[in-house]
């Protein structure tokens, strides 16, 4: 099924302009958590990575790019975002498709048609080396927000790599508010929704039992969740909420769950580790911003990781429509924690993996994107230096093996206003 899907998707990914490229002599980061390799080579052909590392030979006919003094990595994967759903967040109605709160549907919502591949946020992210993103809808009137996608940031009209990659549900403070004011209500709603989905499954006559709360379309959308065929991303922050979610799997054994947020995860890290579920966490949350985050610390990710939890970095309700480019700064900051007494940081290689392969694995697409292992999609970035460092920037970006333009609204303004000297014509003529 997955292979078939991949084939279909590949056909749609238009690797027409993909060329054979060999990037040589760079510091190569595979993105799987292994150490960077000096003097490595990365070869991309037909839109896929052929090989990456030392001793990789350059195929004949390849375009050879010398990356001496540069770093070469897989593109950054935004672990949790609303990228491509909003051009402007506030006061520009019509440009924001994050929230479907006024519509009749919830779980059935699929973000795919709302993603605008030409959004300026996508171009800005691409220019900073973000090549893929996990995109979730915002929950409106129901705890179920709908189905999210995995997208690329390429300069073409085919952004969606995997539609309906997951269902997203709010089960913490946010979910309680939506459900009517309490976590208890949220959990009842959750159970009821899955029960309605379970009841619907296999009913050829389409008949439904009484007292249904979900529309047929919404209930149908939850059938693959109950069956474990579609990943369920659950946003929770408080330690007890995390445990409640883990316990749900006893009631619904088919559920395939990943946690989003988990600010207090470190306090129950061993329980999460034992469950084997993925966590997509905010990197630097350290304020008791709400009563479900009293234990917030920047050491959360490091401690969960040390306890054996599988962790990726995401931007949960943190400027999630546009600042995915700051994930690499956040990852670097987690490395910095290793030098702070009493704090728990993350190794450089693991920190980088948390913004490349780990988020891809968390949403079940690690075989396709997020690393430079052979066969992965040809998403490659050449950086001016260490990509987790503040003064580094991408110098070249490929997505599916296609070299990408890096200019955008911001770079054009930058160029227009480099000089404020009066010229023969107004600034509007500088393009």
């Amino acid at each position: 099924m997955r292979a078939l899907l991949a084939t279909i998707l590949l056909a749609g990914a238009s690797p027409l302009a993909a060329q054979t490229v060999a990037i040589t002599n760079g510091t190569v980061v595979v993105g799987d958590g292994s150490e960077p390799v000096q003097g490595g080579t990365v070869v991309v052909r037909n839109g896929r990575v052929v090989a990456a590392g030392r001793g990789v030979s350059v195929p004949g006919g390849a375009e050879v790019i010398d990356a001496t003094g540069k770093w070469v990595t897989p593109g950054i994967v935004a672990g949790f975002s609303r990228l491509g759903l909003a051009e402007v967040d506030l006061g520009a109605d019509g440009s924001d498709d994050t929230d479907s709160g006024n519509g009749p549907f919830n779980a059935a919502i699929d973000v795919t048609p709302a993603i605008n591949p030409k959004a300026s946020t996508i171009a800005v992210s691409r220019a900073d080396g973000v090549t893929r993103a996990v995109v979730a809808p915002v929950a409106g009137k129901n705890i179920f927000a709908g189905q999210g996608a995995v997208i690329d940031t390429g300069d073409d009209m085919d952004a969606v790599l995997r539609a309906r990659a997951f269902q997203f549900v709010e089960l913490g403070e946010g979910g309680a508010g939506i459900a009517g004011g309490s976590r208890a209500t949220a959990f009842v709603l959750f159970r009821n929704a899955l029960r309605e989905a379970r009841d619907l499954r296999g009913r050829i006559d389409g008949a439904r039992q009484d007292d249904v709360l979900l529309t047929r379309f919404d209930a149908a959308a939850l059938v693959p969740v109950v069956q474990g065929k579609q990943l369920l991303l659950v946003h929770v922050e408080r330690a007890k909420d995390i445990l409640n979610v883990l316990d749900l799997r006893e009631e619904f054994p088919g559920l395939k769950v990943a946690l989003v947020g988990a600010t207090e995860g470190w306090t129950v890290a061993h329980r999460i580790a034992a469950s084997g579920v993925w966590v997509i966490a905010s990197a630097l949350n350290d304020l008791p911003a709400s009563f479900e985050m009293l234990a917030a610390t920047q050491s959360n990710i490091g401690r969960m990781r040390d306890a054996g939890v599988k962790v990726a970095i995401g931007m949960i309700d943190d400027n999630d429509t546009r600042y995915q480019r700051n994930q690499r700064q956040y990852a670097g900051n987690l490395v910095a924690l290793s030098k702070v007494p009493g704090a728990t940081g993350v190794s450089w290689s693991e920190a980088f993996a948390m913004i490349s392969s780990r988020p891809a694995e968390a949403v079940g697409i690690g075989g396709e994107i997020g690393s430079l292992e052979a066969g992965r999609r040809g998403d490659v970035v050449i950086w001016s230096g260490d990509p987790l460092e503040l003064n580094s920037a991408p110098e070249a970006v490929w997505i599916d093996g296609v070299r990408q333009p890096l200019d955008n609204h911001q770079t054009k303004l930058r160029d227009r206003y480099r000089s404020l000297d009066r010229e023969a014509l107004p600034e509007a003529y500088r393009k």
Partner: protein, 463 residues
Amino acid sequence: MRGALAAIFAMALAGCAALAPPPKSKPGTVHIAENPYPSTYHPYGGVPTLIRNATVLDGEGGRIDNGSVLLVDGKVQAVGGADLTAPEGATVIDAQGHYVTPGIIDIHSHLGDYPSPGVQSLSDGNEATSPARPEVWAEHSVWPQDPGFSRAMANGGITSLQILPGSANLFGGRSVVLKNVPSRTVQGMKFPGAPYGLKMACGENPKRVYGSKNQMPQTRMGNIAYVRQTWIKAKEYDRKWTKYEKSGGEIPAEDLAMDTLRGVLHGKILVHNHCYRADEEAIMIDVAKEFGYKISAFHHAVESYKIADLLRENGICSAMWADWYGFKMESYDAINENIAYVQKAGACAIVHSDDPNGIQRLNQEAAKAMASGKRVGIDISEATAWTWLSGNPAKALGISDQTGSLKAGKMADVVLWNGNPFSAYTRPDKVWIDGALLYDSANPKLRPVSDFELGQPGERDVK
């Protein structure tokens, strides 16, 4: 109480007039208190400390490699090279490979008035009941137990900060400058002698907040009209009081809102104007000229790069983010080179946060801005970039004679970093405020915990 006092004075005056021949003109004797909530902050004191072998950025654009900084009696006593010696009994810190800088000053924070946890009961930043509320003072909203203060110090090296009212109103109210030292009261945090600020706002927020209530202002032209009308009232108020103070006569009615605006007209209160767009900044510059006041800084000035020349000519600072963009229409044209362009034009650049998370890494924001400049050929030194974090905000806040740079005689507000503070891998190692060591990464006892966090999960934790 104040009114009663004024009445007593008035009666006394009347009584005198009955006995003696009327004077030609007698100065008024009623004065409006300028500092009714005085600072009670006292430095905590520390031991004489010599930091040696450090890279010193002085906050005014100077740099000393292998430099030394000597802190004595709460002041910077000397800054120099390897030859600087420690007085007897001084603590000597070998800072090989580390940087020493002035403490960072965040000119735009809402810590305390929008604290953590962000619940309605503690949401005290916007008195959004009238577009002009110059009578409210941010200090009366500041909750000293906001856990954000300690994060800003321990993770961000913030030693002073300005707390502003929000931007719902055209005139948001008075700001307050604080020392980032935990205290039971806001008075215990107030920066001694710092002038007050007035928060003003242009653009989207006021017109959205009041337009949605079907009140003025509903448009940008409504914003400006309302601002001008308010200044006209302030001028009239000022004339009445100035006349009274010079010549006596009938005591004018006192008005809390107008007192603040009068303070601005007299240059005693500094204007901090939330203004994103270049064209609106240009209009606000003309408004200021029309009514005879000065704008100290434009805040959130994401388009300052478009009029950096105008800002230089008018001596107005721009407080900016490194890379925030697009979250609203007026931030749509933000560019990463904004700060570097403003610097290059010779105008005053400041890095600010407006955010309880961002305030924990303003040094990194400066690093990103510096790097963005470098990529387009604007070579900005680390020493210059540090002026964005301490020297320039101190100037714009009117406290640069006391803090903001490592110069002899200034307050010993100092951060020792465990590496290069323009790196993502660097954190504060030690923070001194007025010479008192208030954070030491190696000493769990020197880690403040607010009342709110006591007994909560993670109370003793490193944050």
